[in-house]
Symmetry: C2
DNA sequence: ACCCCCGCTATTGTATACATAACGTATTCA
DNA sequence: TGAATACGTTATGTATACAATAGCGGGGGT
């Protein structure tokens, strides 16, 4: 069986992890469904050992759940799970912003943040915002949040924020997509950008409490938008990850 | 080789994970040290596959770090890493307390909390507190925090708090040990108990912001005590996990 | 006809064999 | 004498073989 081409540049474990995560988030694997290792071996091209390592990682990541009798299943999330995850991330990012403000940031770092801000400003000048401008927005927004997180200079906090962002829709970029279909999209983006502006100001002036408060508010906005977006489900069929939200319960 | 006794009641993976975590926390494995899989196989009695799964889990847990060239090493923590982790947990528990207050708790649940409170009150009545009373305190305190976390009724939040508690010294019980040697131990315990009392009151009266604030203060107290305890390092030789704190850097 | 029990199959948990890459050492050349 | 290269050893990453269990289906008994 020489057909199995092995790409040595990236480990089989990582490859399997990416492939499986993609399958979960894209809805190929439905929530509650048991994941067959053998099937995963076929779809990912890796052998059982790396597949199992990937499964363990995805479980720790929160996308899978261990079945008592053995194996893993795709986790299902309630709407509240998602909104809690967003608020959770907001709380953590709030702490990050406070740390950044209290511990101070270099002029260089502040500049990166402001560049990011300006770039988004540039995008928002277009009314209405175009589709690929929106895709740029998603990238820039993610970059802004990542930068802010880094500025906390707290390794444990950065780790936790990364973990919180692994939750579907709880990542800075993951969910913004869903908002694009909303009629209020333009206003939402403008308000979010104002939050970004204020948090920079707060950090610059070393106002820790203010920086924290505004990041929390930022997350509350996202939670509100999630609710809005879920009411407009018709617009959202383009988002397969929505299938992860169990509609029957909660 | 029939000498290898296999206990089927608990998986080899879990056994290896527990054994390795114990080795790390007890200082048998020093920070920065590369973990040899073969050595781990010998000390844990499991074979390489479950050992590797355990290593992956411990990495996700934050106790290990992947080495780019392969394998894992024991992670070293700065004093700031630890204090950040405590504050991080405090922030998360603050959110949990707020959720509990906002979402409401049943009379039965409130009663459990109060029972826990009373039991600790009972212990604190002794002056000075005895050694095994202190050990009971550690248990009860952990129970209190676990209960409070549960009351948030937020699965994602509970998960994150668990993860944050995996950090050495950041667990409710893990670090209290270190405080016992401090001369101020008695006062600290009394103040901490007052925090517990207030958070219950806040939850009962559905004062979310107050419940959150007091849990954060609770963590700040712990951070202050960590500093105190680390200055009194002589008292702390009984705590091997201290070896995880890198003294050279930061 | 329905229920229970036994056996089979499929899937997971575990062990180990194999390949590859990294690190250390020794030898040689400048 | 020092440095660089080549070789060997050892470790990890991967694949697969083996074992045991859980779930399922069929057959038999009541």
């Amino acid at each position: 069986m020489a057909e199995r081409e092995v790409d040595r540049s990236v480990s089989q474990t990582v490859k399997a992890q990416l492939a499986l995560r993609d399958q979960i988030l894209s809805g190929s694997l439905r929530p509650g469904e048991r994941i067959s290792e053998l099937q995963a071996v076929e779809t990912t091209g890796a052998s059982r050992t790396p597949v199992r390592m990937a499964l363990v990682r995805l479980e720790e990541e929160g996308l899978l759940e261990a079945i008592p009798s053995g194996g893993f299943m795709v986790k299902a999330f309630s709407e509240r799970d998602i909104s809690d995850s967003i608020e959770l991330r907001g709380t953590l990012e709030g702490l990050a912003a406070r740390f950044a403000a209290e511990r101070g940031v270099s002029a260089r770092e502040l500049e990166s943040l402001k560049e990011c801000l300006s770039a988004i400003d540039e995008l928002l000048r277009q009314v209405p915002i175009s589709v690929d401008a929106f895709s740029s927005y998603v990238t820039l927004n993610a970059r802004f949040h990542a930068l802010l997180t880094e500025l906390s200079r707290s390794q444990p906090l950065i780790r936790q924020i990364d973990r919180a962002s692994a939750m579907p829709f709880a990542s800075p970029s993951g969910f913004v997509m869903a908002q694009s279909a909303l009629p209020e999209a333009q206003q939402i983006l403008i308000i979010a950008q104002e939050h970004h502006r204020v948090v920079i100001d707060a950090i610059e002036n070393r106002e820790g409490a203010r920086a924290e408060a505004i990041m929390r508010e930022h997350a509350r906005l996202a939670v509100r938008n999630l609710r809005l977006a879920l009411r407009n489900r018709t617009h959202l069929d383009l988002l397969p990850a929505l299938a992860l939200i169990k509609t029957a319960t909660d």
